[in-house]
Amino acid sequence: MTWLIPPLIFFYGAFLCLFVGRTQRTFITLLAPVIALVSLLMLPMGNMAQVQFLGFELIFIRLDKLAFVFSLIFIIAAFLAAIYAWHVNDKIQQVSTLLYAGAALGGVLAGDLISLFLYWEITAVASVFLIWARRTPAAYATGMRYLLIQVGSGVLLLAGLLVHYNDTGSILFEHMGLVSTGTLLIFLAFGIKCAFPLMHNWLQDAYPAATVTGTVVLSSFTTKMAVYALARGYAGEEILIYIGAVMTLFPIFFAEIENDLRKVLAYSLNNQLGFMVVGVGIGTELALNGTAAHAFCHILYKSLLFMSVGAVLYRTGTSKASELGGLYKTMPITMVCCLVGAASISAFPLFSGFISKSLILDASAKNGYYLVWFALVVASAGVLSHSGIKIPYFTFFAHDSGKRPAEAPMHMRIAMIITASLCVIIGVFPSLLYQLLPYDVAYKPYTTSHVLAQMQLLCFALLAFVFLMIKGIHPPEVRGINLDSDWVYRKILPTTLSAWAASAMSVANTWRIGLQTQASEWIIGIRRLSSPGGLLAKGWGVNSMVFVVTLLLLLVLFLNLF
């Protein structure tokens, strides 16, 4: 049974994919989630697959209700993404998708920090191939940035777990709380993957750069694994509430003015994560239920939105709002599915977002975080602005771009329709989802007062949109890049460095000495020294080698004798 645990099934699939042809690969990507689901359902609750490794006892499977609900949605997401990617004939993408999904699943099921770290790193490495599979120089550069940050998170996790182990002698992945350096490091590692404010940029940078199908896969796993990890290790940590509140608010503004619709969705993903983080921060049973439910629903409707925008990209070659418009004429099914996704994320009653987001909002209100609660209400209106209105409106309606693309291919339509149906089913029958949640739910989302409040909020927000459009105040879609905190490492750092280098070149001739030149000479120098033919890397002659040997000998003799 240890050899048939769900993550391994994905890995077997990935391995098999390496050796078989296109048709078989497609079937494997579909089949692996199904078998993994069976395997997951057959697993008993509790710990299993314990393995001795370097003197630690690793627990590869720790199944409880929290882990179960995340595992279930990960498997469903992998399955839906596989249908959506039916047309893909790219071994790299298929293998990395399976590896990535398996690793995310493994991370959720891991019962100790070392196996968590293991999966943490596999998700980083496997997922970057979904970006590189675009096969352009820019995608390569983006992937590199993404990988560096993701691996950095893994390094932090490793450092944190070592410190934590030194402190406590335990590697169990249990509730930790922010109590020591070790737990702080682990917290930061989780925070990077969860796209905390100022650590969020990899997400908006990388997701729009991935392939059409790759983004759908990416949107499901990494961040939700991080949310799960936070819920497991840091539930009830008050700082998370405020981090989450900031996360819900600030991406809205960026999403509102972003032109690339996949980047808009990436910002909105960030904003939705904020809700989940707030839920983790509150940490009551109701709030954690809310987090799990919201993650579940969010994976579905965010996949759906990425799928529909992906289909548009697939057919038109662009996902820029300024280039699109009027596509409803030829892509009606995609449009309807997109609208379902938009309604779900905006939390219209009868759609899935409504029944999950309410849990978190109510939890924050009940625990007296009124300001945070208000921030979340405002953010809810904001979600409508970019994901609810902007995505469908500028893609399918607005001004006619003149593009008349064909409807999305059959398999994409199937994937979108299934996902859309799931969103509606969960929205109409919330108990289906509620019974999966980690704690018992005695919560009724469909009360008159609740529905009324939500409808008021959304309808008046819509009204505001109409008003702003008519008045011409709503900002038009224009091409361009909006700066974000990645500006620091994408622009300031490189320009400063090259400015240093340049000024060093000129200054060096006149002044020769000065702090700046020193620094830049160092940078140039390292490169010069290390390149083939440089001092450090050329084939040294006998003379210099012997000289170094003699010097070192004298040094050692001197040290030892005097």
Binding site: G317, Y328, M335, R404, L452, M455
Partner: protein
């Protein structure tokens, strides 16, 4: 309703959205709905947890002004941070075309069979 393009007719089930009357109608419906919801707030007593939440029209005002403020704030933000697409040069996917080899662009849509016959 049908759209004529390149001499072929394309059915579009949602073509009505483009007619000005329909748009006006939709706006009117929305306005009506809003008015209804606004009035319902007086009639129906909402359960509240947060002080002020029970205030008359709380959600209506929040919805309207939050949205407006977000749009205006974003507009202001754009004036600060908008840059050219080539700002980051080769390091950014924003300025490059998506490689068409991985796409299936069909700008000539498949003609609806029923209509063709």
């Amino acid at each position: 309703m049908a759209i004529v393009m390149n001499g072929k007719k394309i059915t579009a089930a949602f073509a009505w959205v483009e007619s000005p009357t329909a748009v006006h109608m939709a706006i009117k419906i929305l306005a009506g709905l809003c008015a209804l919801l606004f009035l319902l707030d007086i009639i129906i007593h909402r359960h509240t947890y947060v002080p002020g939440e029970g205030m008359w029209g709380f959600y209506t005002f929040t919805g309207f002004f939050a949205f407006t403020l977000i749009v205006l704030g974003a507009k202001q933000l754009r004036s600060w941070i908008l840059r050219d697409e080539n700002y980051y040069g080769e390091q950014s996917v924003d300025s490059e075309e998506y490689p068409t080899s991985q796409l299936d662009i069909q700008n000539e849509p498949a003609v609806d069979r029923e209509n063709d016959q």
